[in-house]
C-alpha cells in the first residue's frame, strides 16, 4: 500500500472481493449477450407496453450489481450503535476530510461508471432506451445520503432507520421530479451533482463526530427507556427448558419478521394513502404486495436464524453451547419460533388487509369478485391461498436454518454464493427456453426422469442424515419414525388440497405429477439436517 488513500480503499473493498468478482463476470457476460443474440430475440416482449424481455432481465442483473456496490461503499463494519464506519479507521492518522472523501468519491465514481457501462454496453444494445447522465448523478447522490446517515454516530440504532427512510425517499422523489420537469438531462444531472457536492460537508462532520466519540442522543430518552424497562414485569419462571429456549429464540430472532413487515406496511401504506384514490386496481396491487411480502422477507431473514443473535457471528457462544438441552429439542424450539414469527407477521398483514377494505370503492370491488366466483368457492380459495402462504413463510424460514446452524461462516457465505449463481443460471435457462422452443420440448420429455432422479437423491440424503443422527444418539428410533410420519402426512394433505384446488381453478395437472412435485418441494432433509448441523456446531 503506497498511500493512505490506497489503504482506505482496500479496507472498504477487500472483504467483498469474491462478490466483486461475481459482479464483474456478470457485467462482462451481460455486455456480450446482446451482441450474440439475434435482433428478433432481443425484440421479444411480454406484452406491447413493457420493454423487451431480455433487456429487462439483463437490466435487473445490472441493478443488482450496482446495489451491491452501493452497499459496499457505505463502508460499513462498525457497530449499529455508533457510526457504521469501520471502527478501526476512526483512529487512523488521516484527516476526517480524507476519511469521508475516499469512500464517497470512490463510491460515486464506481456507481457512475457502473451505470454508464450498464447503459452503454448492456441496456441500449438490448433495446432499452434509458437516460445516461441524470441517473448516474442520482445514484451518486443516493449513495452520499446513505453514507451520511450511516456514518452519523447515533446512540439509538433504530433512529438511523427513522432518519434514513424519509431522507432517501426525498432524494428519490427529488431526482424523479427534476427529471420529469423537463429541465433537460444536462441541467438535471448538474443539479444532482451539486447536491452530491453539498453532501461532502455533512459527511465530514459525521466522521468528525464519530471520531470524537460523541453520539447524538437525548438524555431524556435514556431515562424514559429505563423507566419503561422497569415497568415490565419481573421475569416469571419457565415451565420447562423447551419453553425457556423458545423464549430466548423469540427474543433473539422471532421479533425480526413481524417488525420488518410492520415497518414495510407503514412505509408502503403511507405511499399508498397518498396515491390516487380512484384507481381500484392499485388496491389490488397493494393487496398482492402485502400477501407476498412475508414470504420474501422470510427468505432473506432465514440465513440469520441459526445464529445466537442477529448481530453476532456464526460461532456458538459458550453460554448457549453449555446448555443442557439436546440438539433435537433446540431445533424444535427454533422451529416453533419460526412458526410464532410467521403467525405474528401474518396477523399484521391481515390487519393491514382489513384496513384496506375501508378504501372507497375497494369494498365493492371485493364483493363483486366474491359474487362472480361464488361465496363458498372464493372463501375456500382465499383460505387455501392464505394458509398456503403462511405455511410457505414458515417453510422459507425453517428450511434455511441448517445453513446458519452449522456455525461456520464459510458454509453460510458459500451457500449464498451458490444460491445467487443458481438463481442466475435458472433465469438464464428460462430465458433460453423461451427463445429456443426445441430445447424446451426435449426438457419436457426428460422431465419425469429428472424428477425421479431428484427424488432418489432426496431420499438418499434423508436416509443418510437419519442414520447419522441415530448413530450419534441424537434422536431415538421412535423420533425418526415420527419425523417420517409427519412428512408423509404433510405430503398427503397438501396433495389432496392441491388436487382440489387444481380442480376448482380448472388446471389440468396429473395427480402423479403433483405428488412427485410436492414430494420434491416439501422439506425433510433440511429440517432433519438442521439437527445434524447444530450437532456439528456444538461438538467440533
Amino acid at each position: 500500500m503506497r498511500s493512505p488513500v490506497q489503504a482506505l480503499l482496500w479496507q472498504v473493498v477487500a472483504r467483498h472481493r469474491w462478490w466483486f468478482a461475481l459482479g464483474g463476470v456478470y457485467l462482462v457476460v451481460a455486455a456480450i449477450v446482446p451482441q450474440v443474440l439475434s435482433p428478433q430475440t432481443l425484440a421479444l416482449r411480454v406484452n406491447d407496453i413493457s420493454p423487451p424481455a431480455v433487456g429487462q432481465y439483463l437490466a435487473a442483473g445490472c441493478a443488482g450489481v450496482l446495489l451491491h456496490w452501493m452497499l459496499v461503499f457505505v463502508a460499513g463494519g462498525g457497530e449499529l450503535e455508533r457510526s457504521a464506519l469501520f471502527k478501526r479507521s476512526l483512529v487512523l492518522p488521516v484527516t476526517s476530510q480524507r476519511l469521508a472523501l475516499v469512500p464517497m468519491l470512490a463510491g460515486a465514481a464506481a456507481l457512475a461508471a457502473g451505470w454508464c457501462y450498464s447503459v452503454l454496453a448492456v441496456m441500449r444494445p438490448a433495446g432499452l432506451t434509458v437516460p445516461l447522465a441524470w441517473p448516474a448523478a442520482a445514484l451518486a447522490l443516493f449513495l452520499a445520503v446513505l453514507q451520511v446517515v450511516s456514518w452519523l454516530p447515533l446512540a439509538r440504532p433504530w433512529l438511523r432507520i427513522v432518519l434514513a427512510v424519509p431522507l432517501l425517499c426525498l432524494t428519490v422523489a427529488a431526482a424523479l421530479l427534476l427529471a420529469l420537469s423537463g429541465l433537460g438531462e444536462g441541467l438535471t444531472a448538474g443539479i444532482l451533482a451539486a447536491g452530491w457536492l453539498a453532501m461532502l460537508w455533512p459527511a465530514e462532520r459525521a466522521v468528525a463526530l464519530a471520531r470524537r466519540g460523541d453520539t447524538i442522543d437525548w438524555p431524556g430518552w435514556q431515562r424514559l427507556a429505563e423507566r419503561v424497562a422497569r415497568l415490565r414485569p419481573r421475569a416469571r419462571p419457565f415451565r420447562s427448558p423447551d419453553a425457556a429456549q423458545l423464549w430466548l429464540e423469540w427474543r433473539a430472532h422471532g421479533w425480526l419478521l413481524p417488525v420488518a413487515i410492520a415497518a414495510l406496511v407503514v412505509m408502503m401504506g403511507g405511499l399508498f394513502l397518498l396515491a390516487d384514490r380512484e384507481k381500484i386496481e392499485l388496491g389490488w396491487r397493494f393487496l398482492h404486495l402485502l400477501l407476498v411480502m412475508p414470504v420474501l422477507i422470510a427468505s432473506t431473514l432465514g440465513a440469520n436464524l441459526g445464529k445466537q443473535d442477529f448481530s453476532s457471528g456464526y460461532e456458538l457462544s459458550p453460554l448457549l453451547a453449555a446448555r443442557p438441552i439436546s440438539s433435537a429439542r433446540w431445533v424444535a424450539a427454533k422451529l416453533w419460533m419460526c412458526a410464532a414469527s410467521a403467525a405474528a407477521a401474518w396477523l399484521l398483514v391481515l390487519a393491514a388487509t382489513l384496513l384496506l377494505l375501508f378504501r372507497p370503492g375497494f369494498q365493492q370491488s371485493v364483493l363483486q369478485a366474491i359474487e362472480t366466483a361464488g361465496p363458498v368457492r372464493s372463501t375456500a380459495l382465499a383460505l387455501a391461498a392464505v394458509g398456503g402462504l403462511i405455511v410457505l413463510t414458515w417453510v422459507q424460514m425453517a428450511s434455511s436454518l441448517w445453513v446458519s446452524l452449522t456455525g461456520r461462516a464459510w458454509v453460510a457465505n458459500g451457500f449464498a454464493f451458490v444460491l445467487v449463481i443458481g438463481i442466475l443460471s435458472a433465469c438464464t435457462l428460462a430465458v433460453a427456453f423461451v427463445l429456443y422452443p426445441d430445447a424446451k420440448q426435449s426438457l419436457v420429455a426428460a422431465l419425469p426422469w429428472l424428477i425421479g432422479l431428484l427424488l432418489a437423491v432426496k431420499a438418499l440424503v434423508a436416509a443418510v442424515i437419519l442414520r447419522e443422527l441415530l448413530a450419534r444418539g441424537r434422536i431415538r428410533a421412535a423420533d425418526a419414525l415420527r419425523l417420517i410420519a409427519v412428512w408423509l402426512a404433510a405430503l398427503v394433505a397438501s396433495w389432496l388440497i392441491g388436487q382440489r384446488l387444481a380442480a376448482e381453478l380448472g388446471l389440468a395437472v396429473a395427480s402423479g405429477q403433483l405428488l412427485a412435485g410436492l414430494a420434491l418441494v416439501i422439506p425433510f432433509s433440511r429440517l432433519a439436517g438442521a439437527i445434524l448441523a447444530l450437532d456439528w456446531n456444538r461438538h467440533r
Binding site: A229, R230, R232, R234, A235, R236, P237, F238, R239, S240, P241, A243, A244, W247, L248, R251, A252, Q308, D309, S312, S317, P318, L319, A321, A322, R323, P324, I325, S326, R472, G473, R538, H539, R540
Partner: protein, 304 residues
C-alpha cells in the same frame, strides 16, 4: 482431608490429542481430577488450557484419546453431563439485550437443582439490579451475573476458564469466594484455569501445568512445591555450570550461581560435588516462580 482417590475421578482425560490444522494444541495429555478438590490448570497463552476445558464440556470432540466427565462421555451424552457442570468462560458472551432477572429465569429452567434463595442471596450480595440490561452493566458486573448463573444450581463440577481475566480485584475476590464456598460443600469439585498464579496457589489442592500442549506436571500442589527448590551453588570456574538432568537453567550472580531444581537435593549435591561445586542454600519456590522456571526458554529438562 486428603482427596478421595478411591472414588472415580469426576473428570478424566486419557492420551488426549488435538490438532487444529498444523498446530498441535494438546499432545497426549492424561490427567484425572479427583472429586472434592480445587484443581488448578496453569499454562502460558496458547498452551492448551481452554482446549482441554472445551473437551471436558463436549464442545470439542476427542480426535484421539478418551474424555470422561461424571462417568460419562461428554460428546455422547451432552445433556446429562452439562446439567451437572457449571461453566464460566473468560469471554463474557451473554447477550446484551437480556435483563438480569430474565437471564436467571432462563438458566433456572434448565437445572432442577436451582436454588432460588441462594440465587437471590448472591444477587443482593453482588448488588445486581434485576431489571438492568446486561449491556448497561460494566464488565465486572456482567462477570458477576455469569457467576450467579453458573453457581445457583450448585453444580457437581464448576469449570472456570480464566474467569478473572481483565476484571478488577473486587470481582476477582468474588470469584475466589465463590470457589471457596463451592469447595466447602461436600462432594463438589472446581476446575480453575488462570494466569494469576497466586490465586491458583491459594485455593488449589492439585495443580497441572500445560506447556505447548504437553503436560509438564500434574498432582497435589504440596508434592509439586516439595519437588521444586531454588539452589544457590558456589561455582568457581568461568564457564557455566554443567547441565544436569533435573536442573532448569543456571543464572549467575558473582561467584554464585542459582538454578531451579526439580529432583532430590541430596542426589544433586553428590553430582555437583563431582564437579567441585557446593550447594550453599536451598529455598522453596512459589507457584509463580515454578511456572516461570518451567516456561523459560533455557529450561534444559522438563520432567512430568
Amino acid at each position: 482431608m486428603p482427596p478421595a482417590f478411591r472414588e472415580e475421578p469426576v473428570a478424566e482425560v486419557r492420551d488426549l490429542t488435538r490438532r487444529f490444522g498444523d498446530k498441535t494444541a494438546l499432545a497426549e495429555v492424561s490427567l484425572a481430577v479427583p472429586r472434592g478438590v480445587v484443581y488448578g490448570l496453569v499454562g502460558a497463552n496458547g498452551a492448551g488450557k481452554t482446549t482441554l476445558i472445551r473437551h471436558l464440556l463436549g464442545l470439542l470432540k476427542a480426535q484421539t484419546g478418551a474424555v470422561r466427565v461424571c462417568g460419562r462421555v461428554p460428546v455422547r451424552e451432552p445433556v446429562e453431563v452439562l446439567s451437572r457442570v457449571g461453566y464460566l468462560s473468560e469471554e463474557i458472551d451473554l447477550p446484551g439485550w437480556i435483563r438480569v432477572d430474565e437471564l436467571l429465569a432462563y438458566m433456572r429452567a434448565f437445572y432442577p437443582t436451582w436454588d432460588d434463595a441462594y440465587a437471590e442471596d448472591l444477587r443482593q450480595q453482588f448488588e445486581l439490579d434485576p431489571s438492568a440490561k446486561l449491556k448497561a452493566l460494566s464488565k465486572g458486573q456482567r462477570a458477576r451475573a455469569g457467576l450467579i448463573a453458573a453457581l445457583a444450581y450448585r453444580p457437581e463440577l464448576l469449570v472456570l476458564d480464566e474467569p478473572s481475566s481483565g476484571l478488577d480485584p473486587i470481582v476477582r475476590r468474588d470469584i475466589l469466594g465463590a470457589i471457596v464456598r463451592t469447595i466447602a460443600d461436600e462432594g463438589r469439585t472446581v476446575i480453575f484455569s488462570s494466569h494469576l498464579l497466586d490465586e491458583v496457589e491459594r485455593v488449589s489442592e492439585c495443580v497441572a501445568m500445560l506447556k505447548e500442549g504437553r503436560l509438564v506436571f500434574a498432582g497435589p500442589l504440596d508434592d509439586v512445591k516439595a519437588r521444586y527448590r531454588r539452589l544457590t551453588v558456589r561455582w568457581e570456574a568461568t564457564e557455566r555450570p554443567p547441565a544436569l538432568a533435573g536442573v532448569l537453567g543456571w543464572r549467575a550472580s558473582g561467584r554464585e550461581w542459582t538454578a531451579v531444581a526439580c529432583t532430590s537435593t541430596e542426589e544433586l549435591a553428590i553430582r555437583l560435588s563431582a564437579y567441585g561445586a557446593e550447594i550453599l542454600e536451598q529455598r522453596p519456590l512459589s507457584l509463580d516462580e515454578i511456572f516461570l522456571a518451567q516456561s523459560a526458554r533455557e529450561a534444559q529438562s522438563a520432567e512430568a
